[in-house]
Amino acid sequence: MITPAQTQTLLAAIIFVAGLAALVWLALALIARIAPRASLAMACANAAAALSLTLHALRGVLPDALAYWPGDVLAIASFALLGAAVPGIVTRELAWKPGAAVVAASALLLLALPDDGDQRWQARVIDLTGAGLTLAAGLSAWRALGNGANGRRAPAPLALPLFLIAALMAARGLQTFIHPGRLDMRAPTEFNLAFLWTALVLTLLQNATLAFLVMMRLINRIERLLQRDPLTDTLNRRAFDQALCNAHAWLRRGRGYALVMIDMDRFKQLNDSLGHAAGDAALRQMVKELQPCLREVDRFGRLGGEEFCVLLPDTDIAGAALVAERMRALVDATPLRWLEQDWPLSASLGVAEAERVDESADSVLARADAALYRAKSQGRNVVQA
């Protein structure tokens, strides 16, 4: 025997969970400043859902003008906001215009529809628009997650709750065709009970999934900070050593690699005459110029000070020398522009190839370093193998 108290309790639970989630997302956006715009959109989506369900639960108590049309529009708005927030967390852009257009259009449609006693067309519009909006959001989130826009560890199944919500809303829409006349969510029917339980689970699941995505962003940031040199965004010494170690392990299995050691010429002079800020700018400029020379598999690391190293997998010494020569020419071509003044930049490069006799990567690094030293002693701005 299903009592109205059961459906009312579930409705209250969903309102509570959505309201709580709204507060949490608001705190994330305003206090912790994590993904602020997407978090704010999530807070609004949850708040709109909670408010709309509250209005629905109070139908009959509140005046109809307040309980019906505003509540329906809020329901659609919450789906639209959810649809904007989920891809927003992944891609960091909030595409809110299509959602807003849908909300405005359906708000007008809801006003225009005739009231035939039980609001069945209104209910169908809400359910099917909600299903459509979440389905679209699910598809775009799936695509974005699959593309790895959020780093490599973003599995596409995290978009799953959106598809489930879309299915749930579509089921509710279909139900209004099969059993017209049972539109009130508070009515004690089997369908309503199942619908509300599923809705509660999905509300929790959706919010948890998004919270995981946000966590993943934080963790990616930590990993990046651990691996990157903050000034130039190249790999730091530790991460580069790791990459070098991996490459050396492949050497035994027949995949060679080459190293290009890069050292900016007369860096100390630059620092002393123009100041540290100019030195930093010069390093950044050099790294930016060299990035296009690198393939996806190459690793660019800062060994310390003005010394950098590039790891080129599957490359022999001739190929590496070619890359190094192009790098030298690139650095030489553009001077540093500092306070209306040009300062000529150049770099010396040393190239070495890993050989099977090399015990560890350190000996390859030492050879590249020796080549760099020869380049320096030959008057700088040259490549030596």
């Binding site: 109205p4 689970v201 934080l218």
Partner: protein, 396 residues
């Protein structure tokens, strides 16, 4: 709240606990965030599901079991909660107090059950859970009170305080309302208000633990952004920022001094004992210096083996105090050699101390003066402090 259906509230609460437990397990297993705290929390949620009852599902069970499960469950999940909280806050405190309260509570419940009283087991579990909740409040205030604003600390503490208050109120009911303790014995459902209140407090506690975890992640990120990964001293950018702020304060009369520190013969350590020894030496130095500095002082790694300490002064121009601090840093390093693979490496540093000048927003003049003094210290034979005597009050 008569419009609510109590069994449904209990089921919703069980569902919430289940989801929370799964979330903690996922965080622990997949992301390796707070793994031990997460597992403890998950265990706590599972115990809560098992012990909160689900309406009439325990109806046919023997009375003793019906009475024992909620009481032991409440005690166990509060113990687990407090242990998780300690892990989350990285508290070093031994869990002795938890085991005392938990153990005494369990003995109390068991004794009460064996005496056949309806009141004693409930009183024992409520009293120990309340004590544990109060410990949790103290723990949170100690853990984050110093670093977060009072409002946020209060919000995070509130759920635990609410739990303690509910425990106190319940104990009061048990003692002063006659016949209340028979409530559970008869297998009655809680009132809707009570069920909802418990659900809300459970949810709030979960949220506050999640907030603590996020806070931990954020402090980690900040630490990584502002600190030199090797030594934990401020990195150059963060130090420059601190220096710029101090220069702004200087305009308002809050003086400070700069002590430029350079480890002597650092290259020799690197060359003779390898880079790992050099890294260990840097860490050793920073550990010693940090111990000799006050909380308001800032130690930054400017590059390589060069560090700089920013020392706020009580009165502007008080170069003597700064010189004393610098001298203390020098002697403490010289007196504590580094043990590296059974070799004692004697370390020393040269220090140059100077005052900043006003009208120099980036503090470059002060740094240059301290640097010049450092060079003088190096030239005069290292392991000494040189102090700038010339006092210019505005930028050249």
């Amino acid at each position: 709240m008569e419009f609510l259906d109590v069994p449904t509230v209990l089921k919703v609460s069980a569902l919430f606990n289940l989801m929370a437990a799964l979330a903690w397990l996922t965080l622990a297993q997949t992301f390796r965030i707070a793994p031990r705290a997460g597992r403890l929390m998950a265990a706590g949620h599972f115990v809560r599901i098992a012990s909160q009852g689900c309406g009439d599902c325990m109806a046919g069970w023997p009375a003793l079991l019906r009475q024992a499960i909620p009481e032991f469950g409440l005690l166990a999940c509060t113990v687990l909660l407090l242990m998780a909280l300690r892990r989350m806050l990285r508290s070093r405190q031994r869990p002795r107090d938890i085991s005392w309260i938990g153990g005494l509570g369990a003995i109390g419940i068991a004794a009460g059950l064996s005496s056949g009283s309806g009141l004693a087991p409930q009183l024992a579990s409520t009293a120990s859970a309340t004590l544990l909740a109060l410990l949790a409040v103290r723990e949170v205030v100690r853990g984050i009170g110093r670093e977060l604003s009072p409002a946020i600390t209060a919000c995070t503490t509130l759920p635990f305080a609410a739990m303690a208050a509910m425990g106190l109120a319940h104990a009061g009911e048990l003692l002063f309302v006659p016949g209340w303790s028979d409530h559970i014995l008869r297998g009655e459902l809680p009132t809707p208000e009570r069920a909802v209140l418990w659900f809300v407090v459970t949810a709030a506690i979960t949220l506050s633990l999640i907030a603590l975890m996020i806070w931990r992640l954020i402090t980690r990120i900040q630490h990584l952004t502002y600190r030199d990964p090797l030594t934990g001293a401020l990195n150059r950018r963060a130090f420059e920022q601190a220096l710029a702020e101090a220069q702004a304060q200087l305009q308002r009369g809050h003086g400070f001094a700069l002590a430029m520190i350079d480890i002597d013969h650092f290259k020799r350590i690197n060359d003779e004992h390898g880079h790992p020894a050099g890294d260990a030496a840097l860490q050793h130095c920073v550990r010693i210096w940090q111990a000799g500095l006050r909380e308001v002082d800032r130690l930054g790694r400017i590059g390589g083996e060069e560090f700089c300490a920013l020392l706020p002064l009580a009165s502007a121009g008080d170069l003597d105090t700064a010189a004393t601090v610098a001298e203390r840093l020098r002697t403490s390093l010289a007196s504590q050699p580094l043990r590296w693979k059974d070799v004692e490496l004697k370390l020393s540093a040269s220090v140059g101390v100077a005052l900043p000048v006003t009208g120099d927003p980036q503090g470059e003049v002060g740094l240059a003066r301290a640097d010049a003094e450092l060079y003088r210290a190096k030239a005069e034979g290292r392991n000494r402090v040189c102090v700038a005597t010339h006092l210019g009050l505005s930028a050249a």
